[in-house]
Amino acid sequence: MSSVEATPTGIPTKIRKTALNAVHRQMGAKMVDFNGWDMPVEYPAAIGCGIINEHMAVRTGVGVFDVSHMGDIRLAGPQALAAVQHISMNDASRLAIGQAQYSALLYPQGTFVDDVIVHRLGEEEYLLVINAGTREKDFGWVRDNTRQFDCAVENLSDDFTQIAIQGPKGVDVLQKLTDGDLSAVKFYWVTRGKLCGLNNILMGRTGYTAEDGFEIYIPSDEATSATIWNEILAAGKEFGAVPCGLGARNTLRLEGKLPLYGHEISDTINVWEAGLDRFCKMEKPEFVGREALEKAKAAGLTRTLVGLEMTERGIARDGFKVLDGSGREIGYVTSGSPAPFLKKNIALAYVPVEFGVVGTAVKVEVRGQGVGAVVVPTPFYKRPKKTA
């Protein structure tokens, strides 16, 4: 066979590693180059892993991810809020201390620099958690666009090992390792507490899996990182916890219709096309990209992001063409994959607005053949509401 997938590692120099790299390799993880980072894509079947098992663990129990490749930018100072308000499209003034929100940094054209989770850590302190592939670009962007504000901008990306503990049992696992009452921390809120003997550890009830769970930020030295990683897996054993790689991370976020930079959002796609209206507060009088977005809204959308489900045998993959009934090219797949929990083959795609109606039949070109698909409501998966 030949393989059409991410470049194999073993490429010398320039590849970046998280503090847990040796641990992943020791566990036998299959490694891949993800935007310049040597990351685990999945762990071995021999230890109960593999993309499908990892995905299902997160949906039914708990999975543990090394997401240290993501970046962290801290804004602090008397005008930190004003600075955040200028570069972020959501309304950070709504954030109480300890609260977080999903947002995006936009170019003046109303297109995406990156998506981001904005956390308010203090009276005048905000933390932006950004994508791995855009660390340097984002930091430069934030620094260059906030110079006029009395606010310090720091790149803390290398200071933290970030571990995501995701799934309905995620909170139970973390609770075993920390003193504070995690049940008091609502979704998209953060807390600080003692974790495995470490003081003042930031723990946020956030994630990228469309499940409940936490993301923790611990010191990035290898020894501490490995110890905590292993303690989490040990604490999670009774709940069926497994380590999870980028493969499952992608299938989980896809089922939840969470965007991935470079796919659903990019510097050539605007907020309205991506369907992220509810995170964009146009009532804010000013933010980078606002003017262009107003014009774009007035002009009307030409294309829109839709969810597709394959109706015939075949898997839609990133970049595949979307065709209308007569085989004419009308759009493209931004992300496509089998969905392990839903047991369907799904995709997100940009199509002309007129094809964006749920129930519309289209085709996806798979190796030269049009394979039937239908526009479906999104998100494809929504986690069940917790009872009691």
Partner: protein, 129 residues
Amino acid sequence: MAYPTDRKYTKEHEWIQVNGSSATVGITDYAQQSLGDIVFVEVPKVGAELTAGKTFGTVESVKAVSDLFAPASGTVTEVNAELATSPEKVNKDAHGSWMLKMTLKNPADVDGLLSASDYEKFVAEESGH
């Protein structure tokens, strides 16, 4: 892993088990391990002509699409319908999960392929052990 000696192997990680002028084809355990969870197997219909060394189908894992290369030339006589609904069988037992059966155009095609021990060595080198 000791690879079964009742068949020959290709460098593209297919196996071919010959029975007179017919043969059975599948992928190796090394292939299924490298691919991860297999979700889709696409093979040609009965009657299709295969050419040694050319692609004849695809096997897909969650993350990747891989081409299948014909170990020998001939005509497809039977296709394993089970793999359309249960592709994960290939992960569970790659050497026991056949993909297609064929008549061989030139049985000598198979002579040049790798023996079980040669394939083992080849795999050891590939995986850097």
